[in-house]
């Protein structure tokens, strides 16, 4: 059971930590806490032409949270806010549905075993929430 959750793909994704770090010229920065466990992420976002130009994140969290942040670091650049929203929804669907549709990003498949652990969904959602909030902030500025 734990072995399924903490499969190699998930751990590798977390370890890779795509996008870890800061952006000095960000259009928006959002810090979010998961109050229930104290995990924390800060997402830095730069936009260009209605698309994500660059994204970075500082993440203190469990493997699930770090893996989700890493997936974002890898896939978000170049996408539109709508595409990000779809990916976030897809991540939720992976964790909620018995036989979920194919994931928006291949990495999201790693979150399927979270389905058996409702208390952990928030760990995966946190980075997506932070990113979407950052997109909102950046959108309002322009």
């Amino acid at each position: 059971m734990s072995e399924a959750l903490y499969q190699q793909a998930l751990k590798a994704l977390a370890e890779a930590a795509h996008g870890a770090g800061r952006l000095d010229d960000a259009d928006a920065r959002v810090r979010l806490d998961n109050p229930l466990c104290g995990d924390r992420i800060t997402v830095h976002l730069r936009m260009a032409g209605g698309r994500v130009a660059a994204v970075a994140h500082e993440t203190r969290g469990c493997l699930l949270c770090r893996a989700a942040a890493s997936a974002i670091g890898r896939r978000a650049p170049g996408l539109t806010p709508a595409e990000i929203a779809a990916a976030a929804a897809s991540a939720e669907a992976q964790m909620a549905a018995e036989s979920p549709p194919a994931p928006a990003w291949p990495e999201l498949e790693a979150f399927r075993p979270v389905r058996g652990h409702p208390s952990r969904r928030g760990c995966v959602s946190l980075p997506f929430q932070a990113l979407r909030q950052a997109l909102g902030d950046a959108g309002r500025r322009t």
Binding site: D33, P35, L36, C37, H117, P118, S119, R120
Partner: protein
């Protein structure tokens, strides 16, 4: 199977206490339905763990049961998102929460309107707030039949009014508030409305959306559920703007000497380990209530109240409190009997297996307004029948004999 006898069979206590037993004190505490007992027992023996932060299966089960209960309360109240449902220790705790948290958003000179018919639990917290924060407390009077004097709204509700906090149903007169008039008066000046639903919930599901109010408070134990749990429902955007009342574990993010980041509702208002088992029990019983044929039950309750009012009217020297029109009163009847003290009456009735309550019913301002030193109250619920009413009337005749 929703006649009184069939329903009574679902309340274990009625099978266990000595007979004769005619329980006419549901307005103080209703008996507990089997569904609540079973849900609590199941929770405590198969899913008990703290609901905050646990990841092991038992903790997930506990959190799941607790949040499912929240969803059931939401449905019972016809409310929006479950996050608008705050579990408290009871109606009194819920009302204190509003008085403190909403109270902190008021400035000296702001006005709160209550009615003279309020239970002490929706009177004293506002009195405290008045004395602490310098708000102005205005009181809506009642007419001779105990109904709120809506004609006075215009005078009592001023432009400085920020909240009308009134009972949904009086625990002394049974008078049911004309909520529409209250809400209209509040909206006209941009004030909020809090309803104290403690006496309303045992007579069927509520629809806060249709009522148009902003806060709604009630207790589990008066709704056939457990003691030790209650509910405050509040509009999401309102709750989100209030500071916490109690503070502690489970309602804060960052916390240091520099300050604390309160979590969003409902967590913000649920400091400490909540009454988890009782909340689960309450959820179960509200779910059961949601499936009952309330049209028929309410008609039966009203017919019993009619029988009771008619029977009481035959006693010389007896004064009935409250409106005579059953359209606007809950099946709850208080009365005074010249020369007889309510406690002596309740004693004689109790000795004959008829459980009623005598006294001021935690509503001294109302009793004073009605010119009444104390009253005897019989409150009916879905498990009562003609035999209960008749036993009361016979017992009262005996009380007159024995006490005079």
């Amino acid at each position: 199977m929703t006649g009184a006898a069939a329903l009574r069979g679902q309340f274990p206590l009625f099978g266990k206490v000595p007979r004769p037993f005619h329980y006419l004190d549901s307005g103080a505490t209703a008996q507990i339905h089997a569904s609540a007992l079973e849900a609590m027992q199941a929770f405590d023996t198969t899913a008990r763990a703290n609901v905050q932060r646990g990841t092991y299966p038992l903790a997930e089960a506990a959190t799941g049961a607790f949040e499912a209960a929240r969803g059931r309360v939401r449905r019972f109240l016809g409310a929006g998102p479950a996050e608008e449902v705050v579990f408290t220790a009871g109606a009194t705790a819920a009302l204190n929460l509003v008085a403190r948290a909403f109270g902190e958003t008021l400035a000296a000179g702001d006005e709160v309107v209550i009615s003279v018919a309020e239970h002490h639990s929706n009177f004293l917290p506002w009195l405290q707030l008045r004395d602490r924060a310098g708000i102005v407390l205005r009181v809506l009077p009642v007419g001779a039949d105990g109904r709120l004097d809506l004609a006075a709204l215009e005078r009592v509700v001023t432009a400085r009014c920020r909240l009308l906090a009134v009972t949904h149903c009086s625990n002394v007169t049974g008078a049911v508030t004309d909520v529409e008039a209250i809400v209209a008066a509040a909206r006209a000046v941009g004030a909020r409305v809090l309803l104290d639903g403690a006496q309303a919930v045992q007579h069927g599901p509520v629809d806060v959306a249709a009522l148009g109010v902003d806060f709604y408070a009630f207790s589990g134990h008066k709704a056939f559920g457990p003691t030790g749990v209650g509910v405050l429902w509040g509009r999401g955007e309102l709750l989100a703007g209030l500071p916490p009342f109690m503070t502690g574990g489970g309602m804060v993010g960052e916390a240091s000497l520099e300050g604390a980041e309160w979590l969003a509702p409902p967590a913000r208002f649920e400091a400490g380990t909540p009454p988890v088992a009782a909340a689960v029990g309450l959820g179960a019983v509200l779910e059961w209530m949601g499936g009952l044929p309330w049209g028929g039950i309410r008609a039966r309750e009203a017919a019993l109240a009619r029988r009771l009012l008619d029977g009481l009217a035959g006693f010389p020297g007896l004064r009935l409190l409250g409106p005579m029109d059953l359209e606007c009163r809950a099946p709850l009847v208080s009365f005074e009997l010249a020369g007889l003290h309510p406690h002596d009456i309740a004693q004689v009735l109790g000795d004959r297996g008829v459980a009623v309550r005598g006294g001021h019913h935690c509503a001294r301002p109302l009793l004073a307004a009605l010119g009444c030193d104390g009253a005897t109250r019989a409150s009916l619920a879905l498990y009562n029948d003609e035999a209960d009413v008749d036993a009361l009337l016979e017992g009262l005749a005996a009380a007159v004999r024995i006490l005079s």
